[in-house]
Amino acid sequence: MSASLTDRSRLTGHQPPGAALSPWAGPVIVLVALGVLGQAWLGEVARATGSLPAPLWYLTLGLIYVPSAALIMSSRLGDRGRVWFTLYMALALLATRFVLYPDQFAYHDELINYRVLLSILSHHHLFTPNSLLPDTADYPGMQVATAGLHQLTGLSPHLSGIAVLFAVRVVMTLAIVKIIERITGSVPAGCLAAAIYATNPQYVFFNSQFSYQSAALPLAFFAVYVVSVRCEPGRWLSIVPGAAVVLAVAASHHLTSLALVIVLWVWYLATRVTRRPVPRLLPLAVVSVLIVAAWTWMARAVIVPYISEIANNNLSTIIHLATGGASHAFFSDAAGDKNPLWEEAVSLLSVLLIVCTLVPSLLLAVIKYRRLSAAALVLFAIAAIYPAVPAGHLASVTAEISDRAAGFVFVGLGFIVAAWWLRDAPFHRHAPTSRFTLGRRPWVIVTGLTVCFVGGAVLSGPGWIYGPGRYLVSADNRSVDQLSLQAAYWEGRYLTPDGRTYSDRVNGSLASVYGNQDVLTPLADHIQQGAVSNLLLSPDRAPDQSLACSIRLRYLIADQRLSTSLPHLGIYVDNGEFQYGARTSPPTPSTLTKFDDAPDAQRLFDNGAIRVYDLKDMPCTPAK
């Protein structure tokens, strides 16, 4: 084993490797499977009744997590079994996503990334523009792997995507276990860290989606692990595997590749502080900078505007917040749907628990930093970012980016909590063990993990986002229903491909993915969202014709159901749309159907909810 990640002080292992097989192992295997079955049943119930019963959703999810966590922490299970159970739990949690949506990708980010995959399969080349989110076309790593699996195995693109997600979940889980094991010398610590990682708000939901970050994050962990794999010393070729993984990360996701470079350099600087060099780390860090810089340069046309927009939005929100201007309703979506009180309580308790663990652990790290390896110092530094995750929720714009950071932060958090829980020495050197540490009984940690797991799931988004149910307005997965899919498939079959199309957020995504239309977006087409969204959302008909002409619009897709409620995600189309941030009521039905009266506009499709207009014959008259 390489010493690159190894700490001087080893933690206590519960059992020698491969020793025991707990009598509870069999029942837990079945309980976890029952949890997945329960989720499948809930999916059916939600489709039949219109909503996913939240308590049962958490209960069945808990049926997977809680027995697994208890078994992982059990002293009656051998180390090898512990690792396999950690992996089994992680895969079962991922499987819950696919039993809820077994036949298609339904989330907005999934549709965006699926568009890239379909472009690769139809054009046979990478980097075909994707108007839904232009940067995804330049970071096609996950879709390339999916396309390869599809071509080699004959599995459908959707099933190939699921297979890749399972593969990267294996990579993510085992990489965390192995990295922490190598730092601490303890397999239980590695498994506990992976179980703690599963409590992060992105784990069950966002990082299980067919989205470019879902592959990049595990590959970034894998790159760190690869550095620690033993190989013949002194050969420059030994950095090739690490560099190959960094290239795969660079080709998959911009911010993850940037974070990986930062981690490698911070790690290298930490080795300078600890004076314990890690073989191949500096060359790999240098090569990583070159790879990521080169890829970013190639993608600069799309990535610079995209990152700039995110940075600007976040910065202005923070300034607004600092000056007392920002407001954000906690535990409530933009349409007013609120989480139940018990969910709020559990999520707040989970944040409190994590902070209570984090603060003394960081103090310990500061006091004992000379005993820590460079890798341990890096993980402590990463864990220290944690307060930014709940703090980001003070405003809706910053919530998204702070939640994404949780994918990195919880690796550090997993490490420090595992190190704290399994360390034999007193937690604080100036204090007696009994006063500053909890009794290390498994039920204590399992209870804490359960609270953090449920709290993390609550924090990851509004309740409707977890699964199917009745149609909701502008609510990603809950807006993708039979009617919107029917319209999208029809567009793909009967409309001229790549027609310039405008629609709301969900029907626009579906028109692009299944309808093969060129959907207009501000990022890809530099249109002014505020003006163009008038076509759908403003009752004023006067500028419509000239506006449609000015952007050479061919098809307009209007979903009358938008008039039934405010948008659950806060927007019908995109940021900056008509009445953005000031809307108090939905658009009227007549606003959405106003093109029925436009001269020479053709209504080619009507399924009761969605109407597709062809505007090519509409005369271009200047606005008055």
């Binding site: 097989l21 499977a33 059916e44 297979a163």
Partner: protein, 243 residues
């Protein structure tokens, strides 16, 4: 490496090429290809892993990384990422790994110990139960989606046109009703078309009916799908311009 193992591995490599060439049903093609990919990845990373979990980690990471890098390389070819180029990439990688690891024999002695321990057998029984439950979960999930797709719906659309007529399509699911198509020309001199009544009897799997609607005169036409004298769906088309 034992000659028998070399032959087996070459056969697996060839099997992937065969399934790509023949394209059998997915439940034959996918297992063959997945086993071949797993076997090649395991052989490639074997010397670097400390234990089975480490081997699985390295193999999965190598497969995903390898697919991404292979795809980036294939993109440089004029043909790009086609089934043929993926097959050639697979052939090159699998043979290269076989040559690279020619001295690394596979040890399958652990297979002989399987099932000898009573506790392992008991665990095996639990695992079989879990697999059955997981399979049930997949079946249940798919059944839920099928039921969801059987909800009533009715779509009315224009699917093609000639200078003097359009073809409209009625897509229906779980709906049984008598309908009539009525087309009316807007403005100027009126035009009119009324179709005979027809019955749409759509089950859970849905049906699709195409009807030709003659629209002799140019101008804007409204096409109503009516049931019991009430318009349930409406289209509007412009005739007499180049399409």
């Amino acid at each position: 490496m034992h000659p028998g193992e070399v032959i087996t591995r070459l056969a697996l490599t060839a099997a992937v090429l065969a399934v790509i060439a023949v394209s059998p049903v997915v439940w034959v093609a996918a297992p063959v290809a997945l086993v071949a990919i797993a076997a090649t990845a395991e052989l490639a990373v074997r010397p670097y892993a400390d234990d089975p979990a480490g081997r699985l980690l390295l193999a999965c990471g190598a497969v995903v990384t390898g697919l991404i890098l292979a795809g980036l390389a294939l993109n440089l070819l004029p043909e790009g990422l086609t089934r043929l180029t993926w097959a050639l990439a697979w052939l090159a990688i699998s043979v290269a790994v076989l040559i690279w690891r020619r001295h690394s024999a596979t040890d399958l002695s652990w297979l002989r110990n399987l099932g000898r321990s009573g506790r392992a057998l008991a665990l095996g029984a639990w695992m079989v139960a879990a697999v059955v439950i997981l399979a049930g979960a997949v079946v249940l999930a798919q059944a839920g989606v099928r039921n969801w797709d059987r909800r009533p719906d009715l779509a009315f659309s224009v699917v093609s046109r000639t200078p003097r007529a359009v073809v409209v399509q009625i897509q229906a699911t779980s709906t049984t009703r008598r309908y009539q198509i009525v087309a009316t020309r807007q403005g100027q001199a009126a035009g009119h078309y009324t179709s005979p009544f027809f019955t749409v009897a759509a089950g859970g799997s849905g049906i699709q009916l195409d009807k030709q609607v003659p629209l002799g005169a140019s101008g804007q036409w409204i096409i109503d799908l009516q049931a019991d004298g009430t318009t349930v769906r409406k289209l509007q088309v412009v005739m007499g311009r180049a399409q």
